[in-house]
Symmetry: C2
Subunit: 219 residues, 2 copies
């Protein structure tokens, strides 16, 4: 019997992008179902993620896996025959998990502030955001990808935010390039990969989405 794989997602989600990239890397055929997360979550989403009621949800042969980083690990373990995403060495795995966790704790919350706050809070958020990216850039070093020569787990966890960078910069009125040029080169390099190019939305579309959010929240 062939695997049935369904992804419940909402296109601007940098979390859902991770899962899409991992599925593409493994060559897994899946059904993409767009959710109306703001107004009308599907009964399937509510059933499959009763704890958070959030996308992305990966449904594999009827069984849900929630939380994008866990989905990527799961995909790596189930479809282990192609493009290994996490290193096999326990120490290298721990390091990859550390950086994924760092990204998870820092980038979304701070990135959001670049378009959702004003005044002092915004100024602080921009500084913090650049510091976070500089820390990541320093971890990247001169390697082409976070794990080394191979595109892998940490790249997947971070790259979705790259499609949001133009929105962060436009609405926060700041520029990432001057202090993080190496990280921007890394982003461009990742975008040359089919799995990434297929999974990330156009940055203009993200900008339009953020504009709608700002209007909705009256920011």
């Amino acid at each position: 019997m062939e695997d049935e794989v369904i992804l419940l997602n909402f296109w601007p989600s940098m979390f859902g992008m991770r899962t899409m990239i991992a599925l593409e890397e493994k060559g897994v055929k899946y059904e993409y179902r767009e959710e109306d997360v703001a107004n009308n979550k599907s009964p399937l989403l509510l059933e499959m993620n009763p704890i958070y009621k959030k996308i992305p949800v990966l449904i594999h042969n009827g069984k849900p896996v929630c939380e994008s980083i866990i989905q990527v690990q799961y995909i790596d373990e189930v479809w282990s025959n192609k493009n290994q995403l996490l290193p096999s060495d326990p120490y290298q795995r721990a390091q990859a998990l550390f950086w994924a966790d760092f990204i998870e704790k820092k980038v979304f919350v701070c990135g959001r502030k670049t378009w959702a706050t004003k005044g002092e809070e915004l100024e602080e958020a921009k500084k913090d955001f650049i510091e976070i990216l500089k820390t990541l850039q320093s971890e990247l070093g001169d390697k082409p990808y976070f794990g080394g020569d191979q595109f892998g787990f940490v790249d997947i966890v971070l790259i979705g935010f790259y499609s949001w960078f133009p929105a962060y910069q436009k609405f926060g009125n700041f520029s990432i390039e001057p202090e993080c040029s190496k990280l921007m080169v890394w982003g461009k390099r990742c975008m040359e990969r089919e799995s990434v190019a297929k999974s990330l939305p156009e940055s203009e579309k993200v900008i339009g989405y953020v504009l709608r959010l700002k209007k909705l929240y009256g920011i």
Copy 2:
């Protein structure tokens, strides 16, 4: 050459307790070094965890692993010959990681509010805390441990908080037992395990520590 394992920790940390339990479960001999996290972090701590400068840090043959949940996974992978902590099945692993992540996101932050806040915020925190524990209790169901018959990963991630329950209840002036009796039975069951009993502090000592914190912060 024998493994050199050092744990930088601070005794009340429910995060450090996880790592201690995992090391005990595997029968790993290690050197415990208490850190003065409030006043005088050691140069080794600052060197080994430059990103967060926080305990617990596991140092294995000179190389640091940070973040307690990652440490437990690392320990499980390196000392894989004894007491497997995470399930081997990818789906069961994903479920265990999901619940560990749930505990990580919810229990500490909400638990802290039971002794560090007042008035409405405290009332809300107590309600939330019970809801979080009820969710966990429902996941536990009638199983002796979260993973089933074997003490494992999710138990290790949660049990440290059990030593803080009396402090939460005393300072928050509420009781966990009435709505979460099954979870309390699970806690007692875990405490019968040598690895847990050796790693958790006396609850009275935690109460004394929280009292000092409250004075320090003027709460």
